[in-house]
């Protein structure tokens, strides 16, 4: 139908207006999307938003009771804006007070403990390089107190960089095990060993838009990269006992004048290390204060010729192979010439009648060698290897040594095959000796030596759990008899007056190893005592070793620190006192 003319006119007019509007929009659209597109994208990119780092937290290292040995904290680096570093003008009671830049720097230096003149120099040098410089670093690793104090000064041209950092609240307690961090990450110890599998964290980024007055625009936060925290590394170490063992070890190291010392406390039931102490110890907060050779754990890394503590696995071999028992009689000479060499006892004597018990009690090298001759070298070598010698312990500590036991029985020459029975001609670490005595204490079943209980993550999962399969390295009956014989060492041996662990039966062995320097044996000694308690049902094994003590060459001097440590261990873990008498095998005949 045809509209009247007026209506048609209005319709046409309306259509024209609408088309005009559409035209304007199309022009604008083309202008924005095509003509100015590149320019606007560039502007938008510049204002995409603020990117902030979300810090992932490095995992904690904790002892068996959850006490933190290594903790992650935030520290602050102080930076200044050299181009705008100027005097501060304030009004107090209507009076204008001007604090010069150098006075402000002096205030900062008073808080940080730095040198104000050096700060001024840093700023001036930066300005000399680049008059528009906006960044110069003044101080690093300041804590929250300094952060708050400097902020309170109200200086407009200082700023902060947040730096994730590491602190070790217990200082040198387990310091040799924990390790420390350097400028490029973990340097040594557990910090390095478990850096990738447990402790390491990664930072994330978060982008958000910000209003001109610095407030986050709501709903604009976009996490482009989630942060990942590390897991908590739980150790088997008991930090209080660790301190006690370190304290005792250090005390006696000073009075013996030893070059270094190490002590281990192992729970025999599962091979968990309750304490592994080194002297000298290192405080990871203050690494520069000790020499580099004190930075690791000598208990794991430095093997020694242990001396007569090796008579224990040698005797275990004899008992297992049924060539001897505690009553076996031997005419024991004071010195024995064999295969072109001479084996001497530590005390000169004529041939005396000793049982195997007496041989162990007196620590007779000749007696042990004569009896060991009844077993072939390969079997003897295999027994030593079963006890863990010649290979690293299951801990596989950073820098751990496997010691030396020879590649097979055949590798032992005519003299070495006797020397090894009293701990010469072979070498072992304190950790390996502790592992061997753990087997003695656990009724002959050797458990993998364990330092780490596991890595606990925030969601409750636990990784890095240790292997807990035991291997039988000695008959149960042999273990019982051997512990009975070693009671005589403590109660009747030449060091018996130095052993003092009242209330318990203790099975232990002393060791005085000769130290070879440049291929020849010297008058230097390595003194050790290793043992388990209570003898009738052992719960803990303790080993104490001192290397090259200046003030004593007798292992009886180590019986005292051994006794103190063993007493403390038994008391700490509430071990019931012994109610049976020691076995008391005959020592002579």
């Amino acid at each position: 139908m045809r509209y009247p003319a007026r209506t048609r006119g209005r319709l046409v007019l309306a259509l024209v207006v609408v088309l005009a509007l559409v035209g304007v929009f199309v022009v604008r659209l083309v202008d924005l999307q095509v003509v100015r597109a590149a320019d606007l994208s560039e502007q938008a990119a510049g204002r995409r938003g603020v990117e902030s780092t979300v810090y992932g937290q490095r995992g904690e290292i904790a002892d068996t009771n959850g006490i933190a040995l290594a903790d992650s904290v935030m520290r602050y680096d102080l930076k200044v804006d050299p181009a705008n570093a100027e005097d501060k003008t304030t009004r107090v009671d209507g009076e204008k007070i001007v604090t010069t830049r150098d006075e402000l720097l002096a205030q900062i230096a008073a808080i940080t403990g730095g040198d104000a003149a050096e700060y001024a120099r840093t700023i001036d040098e930066r300005l000399a390089d680049d008059p528009d410089a906006n960044f110069a670093n003044l101080a690093k690793n300041l804590d929250v107190d300094a952060y708050n104090a400097i902020n309170d000064l109200g200086i407009g041209w200082v700023g902060w960089d947040t730096v994730p950092s590491r602190t070790y609240p217990l200082g040198a307690v387990a310091g040799n095990l924990v390790g420390f961090m350097g400028t490029d990450g973990a340097q040594t110890g557990l910090e390095l060993m478990y850096d990738e599998t447990c402790l390491g964290a990664s930072n994330g980024t978060e982008t958000y838009e910000r209003s001109p007055d610095g407030v986050r625009l709501p709903g604009s936060a976009v996490t482009t990269d989630p942060a990942e925290d590390g897991g908590t590394l739980k150790l088997t170490i008991d930090s209080d006992l660790q301190w006690f063992v370190q304290q005792r070890l250090s005390e006696y190291a000073l009075s013996l004048g030893a070059q270094w010392g190490a002590a281990a406390v192992v729970r025999v039931a599962d091979g968990h290390i309750m304490a592994m102490a080194d002297y000298p110890s290192v405080d990871p907060n203050d690494v520069g204060s000790v020499g580099t050779d004190a930075l690791g754990s000598r208990a794991f890394s430095t093997p020694v010729e242990p001396g007569s503590v090796m008579k224990m696995p040698a005797a275990a071999t004899l008992l297992d192979e049924n060539v001897a028992d505690p009553y076996t009689r031997v005419e024991t000479p004071g010195s024995w010439t064999v295969n072109g060499g001479t084996i001497n006892d530590w005390w000169p004597h004529d041939t005396i009648p000793l049982t195997l018990t007496g041989i162990l009690m007196n620590s007779s090298n000749t007696g042990t060698s004569i009896l060991s001759d009844k077993v072939d070298v390969q079997t003897r070598w295999q027994h030593f290897v079963d006890f863990g010698f010649g290979q690293k312990t299951a801990v596989d500590f950073s820098g751990e040594s496997a010691g030396l036991i020879g590649s097979s029985g055949a590798s032992w020459d005519g003299l070495t095959k006797y020397l090894v029975t009293f701990g010469q001609g072979m070498s072992a670490t304190v950790a390996q000796i502790a592992g061997a005595y753990q087997a003695l204490g656990n009724d002959g079943v050797k458990m993998p030596l364990t330092l780490v209980e596991g890595c606990e993550w925030a969601d409750g999962t636990v990784t890095e759990t240790p292997d807990a399969t035991g291997t039988r390295v000695m008959e149960s009956q042999s273990s019982v008899e051997l512990r009975g014989m070693l009671e005589s060492v403590v109660n009747e041996g030449y060091a018996s007056s130095y052993f003092d662990i009242p209330g318990y039966n203790v099975s232990a062995k002393t060791g005085t190893g000769e130290v070879a320097i440049d291929g020849a044996y010297t008058a230097e000694r390595t003194l050790s005592v290793a043992g388990v308690a209570p003898s009738e049902n052992p719960e803990y094994a303790v080993v104490v070793t001192y290397y090259r003590p200046a003030n004593s060459k007798a292992s009886s001097s180590v019986a005292e620190p051994f006794s103190k440590i063993m007493s403390q261990v038994l008391q700490t873990y509430r071990v019931p006192t012994s109610t049976v008498d020691p076995v008391g095998y005959p020592t002579t005949w």
């Binding site: 200082g171 040198a172 986050r216 907060n285």
Partner: protein, 204 residues
Amino acid sequence: MSAAPNLRRPIAPLGRPVAPERPALVPVEVAPSRAQRRGRPRPFYATVTLGGVFAVVIAQLLLSLVVSNGAYELSTLASDRAALNREEQQLRERIDVYGSPQNLATEAEGLGMVANGSSAVIWLSNGAVEGNVSAAEPGSGVVGSHGNLVANSLLAQQAAAAAAGAATVTPSETSSSSEDTPETATAAGDAAPTMSGLPTPATH
């Protein structure tokens, strides 16, 4: 209706037909039919629609105001939380260091505690006492004559900072205790200042 050209009617110069004379028109009110009445647009619905549109616009405005306010509040709370986190971390660090075995042992012996090296047990089942029952010697401790040999540089730092803080707390103590009752102010005046919460250890 089609207007067929009537050539007998007078035609104006521009070709527009001129209406023939008619009698004067009398205005007549045309009553709308029912259908027309129903079809007429109602003001009520228009008001409601427009009112609704305005309400939505105003509500949007108010909501965005509230959200912006909230953003400022969030910003303040976030910075408060950051400050509290820093304080918590600092206090936790201090507690961990004061709880280190070196400090506990030295402090315990400083208070006069002794350690008993011998072990004895009481069996609760029958009251039997076993082991070596002997009293601790006076002065027998775990630290020993050399003093603590297990270093802790954080402990030394904290003790030094606490000692420095203690020196400055004493003069201002009487003024800062204005919130406390007068009795506590006078009582604390002669004792070592403990306003900071943790007692300052004597540096060993």
